[in-house]
Amino acid sequence: MPKLSLSTLVLTLSSATLLLIACYWFIIDGRTLARPEIRSGYLLLAIMLLPALLGVRKRLSVIPLGTVHGWTRVHVVFGALLLPLFWLHLGGFWPDGIYEQILAALFYLVTAGGFAGWLMQKRIPNRLVQAGNEVIFERIPEEIIECRREVEHLILEYQKETGSDTLAKHYVDILSWYFFKPRFRINHLFSGEAHEHWLRGKYRIIERYLAPDEKKYLRRLADIARRKADLDFHYTHQGLLKLWLFLHVPLAAALVVFSMWHLLLVHLYSI
């Protein structure tokens, strides 16, 4: 069982207390009010802004504002807390008006994205460790080019040493596709083995036409292909983490802007 640190305990207890207060405010105390949704709306907006501050904190790294890790935990806990508050505010799961439906859709997308991100942060690092060959995302295209260069040198060496072009032709016709850019990304996403099946098939169809001294070049090529597979794996998973952030942050920003507009409309036409 994972250890529960003091800060986690404090954060959990304070969030639970806040949720209880909010529930009391809406369900028990709120019944006596004429327009409880106004109060709940403001509270929802305030709590919505709290997770949004994480992005600001990240940009203010030179100012001592606590650790981003602490802020992330607040972000996750309050992000999760928003969901029941949102339902309380709506009085259901889905609103009626078009604008409110867009707002709700944005809210659900951001929340679902948040949960997905939280899960990805828990799972993907382990997968990357298991894949080995740690590499910086931005360098992967360069590493792939390096793999291709190595294979091409190998093929030239093969031609020079063996005087044969069987493997060279096979590389140009079939295998070069694999070394051109990251491949089998969907398969890597689910830790599948499709790339291995594909490569094994391509080795098998040419192997029978190779002399024993030519086969050692095929084996060296297979080693480079394995390294390329690791790079593809890293590219897919690290890319997913970056893509997620790329989607989650603009959607969250849109949600805040739409919520502000919603607040303005409510004040102009409803109160």
């Binding site: 790294s61 030179v62 100012i63 001592p64 981003v68 690092p125």
Partner: protein
């Protein structure tokens, strides 16, 4: 005739690069007339290592004007000095003011300064305020002179600013007469210089690099006595009195222990050269010098004075590393106590190897017997118990940390890759805190889900400090952080080349407009050495650690590895 393949090269020898290639025959004659040198018995030296060879290749003459610093407190120098002519003064505590030593007074930014960085920091990477350097050219600050490894001094010009000659009378000093030898302990033990020495008049000094000094000490009894007495007088007693084991001992008892203590050193003092050139494979356990072998007759207590030792226990057909020892640790206490209890000498229960180099103080058993009742009981490092633990992943981590010399770090950047989401927020935070250019690279050696990133580890044995011609790279006295004073760094690259872990980088600096700053004489860009400074000036500690969203990053001493793994 056989066709010779490859290029022929005469095998490099020790004295291929003399300390002073221009040392003329006439100067050698002068050198041999120095009374302290003339007293050395040349016949005691082996033919392969003649005294004349040492003098010719490991020594050089240097001149210092009155007021010039000869050695600077806190520097890591690799040579000693013999005052041939003139006089000098050793500055006693509190010493020369930091700014006079070319050091930076470490200063944490105020809240407002931290906040105002948001708009004050330049948008250009590696931008410097050129006026700082221009002021220097006008004569306020210092002029560094790289005269090769070992010599470290700063020459303040008289045009402006305080001069050491002027402030010297205000400092507490001790005169060093002609014939004094100083700097030898720091050179031989790679310790920081304990005091600054300033030329009191025009001085002629003989600078002896530590290799030569070591050999003279080894073959000449007179020099051995001088150096050993100096060590015993100045360092050994302090070292023993500060050791927690001897905390209950009075001065007399401590003096007795000091008198019986033997000083031993193992391994290569310049381990980092071999480490850099040949890598980890060249320094496997079986090639490390043995300090104590498992099963061998145990003789007293070994106190680690400097360097690192690997404690191993024979396991199967190999040696299992159970822990490592460093300055302040001791070895052999378990055996000594067992010996007293049973009356039999069981021999060492483990082996001790020198990892890199190891300086040991050997307190013989008979000296310990006399004070055994006054020894302070310490939580004992029970190596046998460590060895009884089943082999698991932590063994692998320890072997790795010792082999790769990560144990040298006091603030190693360790990333738990099972938590790291590869967002590079740490790199961005570092960049924001340091002139728009990160001071580390998020890549490095990986083992079992842990990465030691390429960031300065603020080593126990900071070999990067050796040879800095201006003392720009130094360890802060308050926090022990290895830092570079940008104003006095001349961009020579000695530190970057010395760092065994490649954690120091030279960067080309720009002005506030982002334009490259160049030397008008050569038109070459001005470079500065940069490295992680643990955000010493920033509030709240290292920005990288604070920026990590998943708590994957830590700055730690490998002794705390279990703590990190368990969090």
């Amino acid at each position: 005739m056989n066709d010779t393949s490859g290029t022929a090269l005469t095998r490099p020898k020790r004295w291929d690069s003399p300390f002073d290639p221009n040392l003329q025959q006439v100067e050698l004659g002068t050198l041999l007339r120095i009374p302290e040198i003339a007293a050395i018995d040349a016949s005691a030296f082996p033919r392969s290592l003649p005294l004349e060879g040492i003098l010719r290749n490991d020594c050089r003459f240097i001149h210092r004007q009155s007021g010039e610093i000869i050695i600077r407190e806190g520097d890591y120098g690799s040579s000693a000095f013999l005052l041939v002519r003139g006089s000098a003064k050793a500055v006693l505590p509190p010493g020369v003011p930091l700014e006079q030593l070319g050091r930076q007074q470490s200063k944490t930014k105020s809240r407002w300064e931290a906040f105002s960085q948001l708009w004050k920091n330049s948008r250009q990477p590696e931008a410097r305020d050129v006026s700082r350097y221009q002021k220097k050219e006008a004569g306020i600050a210092m002029k560094g002179r790289a005269e090769g490894l070992g010599t470290v001094f700063i020459d303040r010009q008289e045009a402006a600013g305080p001069n050491l000659r002027e402030i010297l009378p205000t400092l507490a000093t001790q005169p060093l007469p002609q014939g004094s030898l100083f700097g030898e302990i720091a050179a031989l033990r790679r310790e920081p210089r304990s005091a600054s020495v300033v030329a009191d008049s025009q001085c002629l000094l003989l600078e002896i690099r530590w290799q030569g000094l070591r050999d003279i000490r080894k073959y000449d009894n007179g020099w051995q006595q001088i150096i050993d007495q100096s060590y015993r007088r100045n360092t050994l007693f302090t070292h023993l009195s500060e050791h927690p084991l001897f905390a209950n001992l009075n001065k007399q008892a401590l003096e007795k222990v000091a008198a019986a203590t033997r000083f031993e050193n193992y391994g290569s003092f310049e381990w980092f050269n071999e480490f850099q050139q040949r890598g980890v494979d060249s320094i496997q356990t079986d090639q490390e010098p043995v300090v104590a072998a498992e099963g061998e007759y145990s003789d007293g207590l070994l106190l680690i004075a400097a360097g690192f030792g690997r404690v191993t226990v024979k396991t199967g057909n190999g040696q299992r590393t159970v822990t490592y020892l460093r300055s302040g640790d001791c070895y052999g206490l378990e055996e000594f106590l067992l010996n007293r209890e049973t009356g039999q000498n069981p021999g060492y229960q483990s082996s001790l190897y020198a990892t890199g180099y190891l300086d040991v103080l050997r307190v013989p058993g008979h000296a310990l017997e006399e004070i055994v009742n006054e020894l302070k009981s310490l939580p004992q490092a029970n190596f046998s118990a460590l060895a009884a633990k089943p082999i698991d992943e932590s063994d692998d981590l320890l072997e790795w940390a010792v082999s790769e010399r990560f144990i040298n770090g006091t603030q190693t950047m360790l990333i738990d890759l099972n938590k790291c989401v590869r967002c590079d927020d740490c790199v961005r935070a570092c960049s924001r805190a340091h002139d728009g250019n990160p001071r580390f690279i998020r890549q490095g050696q990986v083992l079992d889900g842990y990465m030691v990133a390429n960031a300065c580890m603020h080593c126990n044995d900071p070999v990067c400090l050796i040879g800095c011609p201006t003392g720009a790279i130094h360890r802060t006295t308050e926090q022990g952080i290895v830092t570079i004073n940008d104003e006095t760094c001349i961009g020579c690259g000695v530190c970057a080349n010395s760092c065994p872990y490649n954690n120091i980088r030279l960067v080309e600096i720009n002005d506030s407009q982002g334009k490259e700053i160049v030397d008008p004489d050569t038109s070459l860009p001005i470079t500065k050495a940069t490295k992680c400074d643990l955000c010493a000036e920033q509030r709240g500690g290292p920005a990288c650690v604070r920026a990590c969203p998943t708590n994957a990053m830590s700055r730690l001493d490998f002794h705390q590895l279990n703590q990190f793994a368990g969090r």
